[in-house]
Symmetry: D2
């Protein structure tokens, strides 16, 4: 790290910082400018302890040099990670499309969606059994009954399934029924839940938090990897900004940034990222063109009567159209759909 001293810091102030660095096992490399001195510190220390210098007399700022993550970064692993879920591969040449309703509502609904999305080419069915809702008075999901329905669909239709886990106490239960554990945006920094999912052998889809920087998102993934589970798929789903014309602002740049900083695969959620079915196709096309490894799209047979997220759900026929539109774009960027 680099410690920037205030203008005209005294010799004593500089010496005190150096002394503390040395005591902590760093070697120090001061550079004396006309106005400011900066001290380079080399050693195996994390950013957190570095913050202890910022209170010292004469210190203006601390500049970390090393990235705070290790396992998710490219320093230890240069080639992209391919997350293989029973033969469906995230991060390979073939794009992976996940589709399905926001919430599992009943047998008819989930079977109907599952059949249609499979026909259109989706490989994985999504469906929420535990729903994190802003209001305590909203539908909270079918819970275990929903998980069982999802599992039956999986077996009957030979589709992989994904569902969200919202409580550390449910990780084991959800793992029994779901092929992938989904961690939602509001839980991206629920560190206990991250660690708990990290202890399973299930792949984890990690959504970006509403107000999380890309670095914080990678640090959340680091929690899962450092707990022993390397199979993490990142999912950009829009961040919160001042714009209110859409539910969230999709950070299209996130794909290229993540691909530069990390080896993990990244997909996008155009449904939450827009909040409006009219914009889902444009967002989907954009993310595939930008290099995303797949999509997770909300599809509902009857959006007007959905228990949640109706306004952003595609009808099955719209989803089928979308898949057709995406095909040539995928090919234009060297991918297969």
């Amino acid at each position: 790290m680099i410690i920037v001293m205030k203008p005209y810091a005294t010799k004593e102030e500089i010496a005190n910082v150096e002394k503390k660095l040395v005591n902590l096992g760093f070697t120090t490399h001061p550079i004396y400018g006309e106005i400011k001195t900066v001290i380079g510190a080399i050693g195996d220390k994390t950013r957190v302890e570095a913050s202890n210098f910022s209170n010292m007399a004469g210190v203006e700022a601390i500049v970390p040099i090393m990235k705070p993550y290790k396992l998710v970064g490219k320093e230890l692993q240069k080639e992209p990670t391919i997350v293989d879920v029973e033969g469906v591969k995230f991060g390979g040449k073939e794009l992976v499309i996940i589709a399905g309703p926001c919430a599992i509502e009943n047998e008819e609904q989930i079977y109907s969606v599952a059949r249609s999305i499979k026909k259109s080419g989706a490989k994985i069915l999504r469906g929420g059994a535990f729903k994190p809702r802003t209001s305590p008075y909203s539908f909270q999901g079918l819970e275990e009954e929903g998980l069982k329905l999802l599992h039956r669909v999986k077996e009957d239709l030979e589709l992989l399934v994904i569902t969200e886990v919202v409580d550390t106490r449910d990780v084991e239960l959800v793992s029994q029924y779901s092929d992938i554990l989904q961690i939602g945006a509001r839980n991206m920094q629920n560190f206990r839940l991250l660690s708990e999912c990290g202890k399973t052998q299930k792949p984890v889809l990690l959504k970006r938090g509403l107000s999380s920087t890309i670095e914080e998102w990678l640090m959340a993934a680091e929690y899962i990897l450092s707990a022993g589970n390397p199979r993490v798929i990142l999912c950009e789903r829009g961040i919160r900004t001042f714009e209110t014309a859409t539910r969230n602002t999709l950070d299209i740049n996130a794909v290229a940034v993540v691909k530069e900083l990390s080896h993990l695969p990244i997909i996008a959620d155009p449904s939450h990222g827009t909040g409006n079915w009219r914009y889902v196709s444009a967002a989907s096309r954009a993310f595939i063109a930008a290099g995303a490894d797949g999509l997770i799209v909300e599809v509902h047979p009857d959006p007007d009567n959905a228990t949640s997220d109706g306004p952003q759900s595609l009808r099955p026929e719209m989803f089928d159209d979308l898949m057709k539109v995406l095909k040539p774009i995928a090919e234009a960027v060297g991918r297969v759909l």
Copy 2:
């Protein structure tokens, strides 16, 4: 709610919306403008179901009229709630100051801080035993050992104590040791944790999420109240914006807005809200002047060697000075410190 139809929506489109409303138990009141028609709908329905109309042909927007919260709002309770924690009252004439270290580190540290803040006039000691940290490699807290230390201080020094709970599985444990359950910013929409805390008899300090609107914050409090626990104290701790000169942007307006919309008490966290001890005094003065019911301030005997949040911690003597500065401001706004 009000349903705004698109310009020149057809008679049939309008009729379909009215029909659906009537089927759901609403009475409808259409207003025909020259270009747009709006339909007023009266009935006992929540905002969520309203979203099912936004996909219908001819519909432009849905405008909810009723606030989504009930128990935290002023419609059912006009007079301010006073949260009484063993005689210390949040929301009364007397301000409540909570102080202490970010994390409990060892016996000497926590006793030393506790003694000094008590002498300066703080009524409640803070200290984290379970720490939510951005990095898995950072100090995560002393866990149960920390809780026990906190409890010993409480008994020995006759101070109330508050500590954070980060996992549904720990709610019962933390309740045994702490007088108040603290829910941190990153868990403000951990709805399971909210419900679990709502089932206890402990007062809950609910911090505002980094990117949560005031309405979402009140909805999070509604989760706790609707689970049966009316003793919620709100805590503004800064929101995330584009400004990087401070760790967060303290929303000073939140005090007046919350006081207008809700009967719950609200305090502020100037330490996380600034991220820099140099700015803690100004922020503290501002919140007391704006009408906050108290503060929660980080104090550490040796910030340079703190395991976390050193840069934003006051030394005990600075905290003592702060308390003296706050006194006349409290009086200027009709409060007592």
Copy 3:
């Protein structure tokens, strides 16, 4: 508009609001709910005057129903506007690519870029003569000398040119040399400059402000149209958010939203939208896939020695590669490049 009264507003309060509405020429349509009354008001009034009601006793909120813009919206003009600049058409089937350096630096530089981008297929050359710079100590542009250089390139190489105007006093001067007037992000709400450009016969490229909502952006365009100039091209160039991994956050949703709300063409600026040449290709692909009508891309023969925006400039050979990659994506969405 709709006026929402507070819960249990008195009859007198309701009557006062109705009286004021009637005096202002509205007809009123009150809807009495159990708890709240809302008053629908029909008449030819703008949003601004509506704000005068929000102070009245018993009033909770004002909900405007009509969009605040007229000329840029789709109510008066449903078909897309095609802005024809000497035969180059923004908003038609063919995409328009603008390319060139951030700033015109000297004859050699601008001729060299112009030749290469023309060869790669760009139709319009960009180059700043008046540069709005954050620091007064940075290079501020060649001013009129730059305009003259740009004009010579235009005549010699038969390329259209675009350059930014930053001062009402320069509008006439810039109009003499440039085919399109560019209004930068920081001037999006420089209303005098908008009006002045609206009085010319030149097409105007209007960049979105760093923190402007799409509605404010359309209102800025309305200034130009209402001054008599219908030839406005919108340009998404990224908004300011908390994310610091990129210079700005490109709002990919803006394309679909603008296409729904307005008939004006919209292009994107992947250079300012990312701030990093490594991400320019991904962003460009995304915007074309999302349906943008073109791009404005920074290209410099020697980015390492550029006077400004070097880090986000493509070298000519990279730009050539980009054009090739964009071609099949354009075709996949029914466009031509």
Copy 4:
């Protein structure tokens, strides 16, 4: 500045960066870590040119060490600047309160407000003659007629006056009538306007831009100072965030940050900062407690019929109450009102 090389950058890459630095007149100080090398560069160069290194092979990031501003910072001037406007001093022990309507509407209105605010203790009358409005269809101000009215009030009632200038072409005109030139939030980075005001002898009130960092705000002030005018007063008026309960989010931390970084005085605008008269008192109290040097408050004799900003305007009697409430808070922080 510090140049951070990528992990395992080659010797040649490091040598190339060093060579370029030396050619530009820097002395270089490389520090070789195990994984990354950083190069300290000492010399008299600005941040802008530094950006030319970020494209070089092997370079990861550039970290500027010196602040980009000179004249507004504390390195050259440690003691606070006091801006003296005909005896009224911004930045001294006495607080300065500016009050008046958003827009000058007519003789009766402006005289009536002026008399009342003077009686309540305000020293300076505000009133807009040129109004920057989001909509071209809104009232745009009385222009020169308004300036003349303002000037008559000034002479008749012996009050200082301030009004906004929105166009470089008006700077001379406005200077004839107004004691202080106000630059609004939307023009904070209208660099030509900044320079033009910098060439006058008039004090300038510089509002913070809606999405401007404190550093950018100080750089805008640097434009004025570097053009020769040292009399700048900063004004925090709220920034744009995701929160919609208030018109803007007041950055209360800005006072302490500005006081640490700059010698310029800073006041606050609680009217635009809240957008709601109900919250103006709380915000005013907060800023005085935090150490602001004054306030600018919107006061209107009849807010319900104001041509603009009615909802955030205080009635004269409310303003009088506010002044009384602020007095003891000012005293509590060592100031006089």
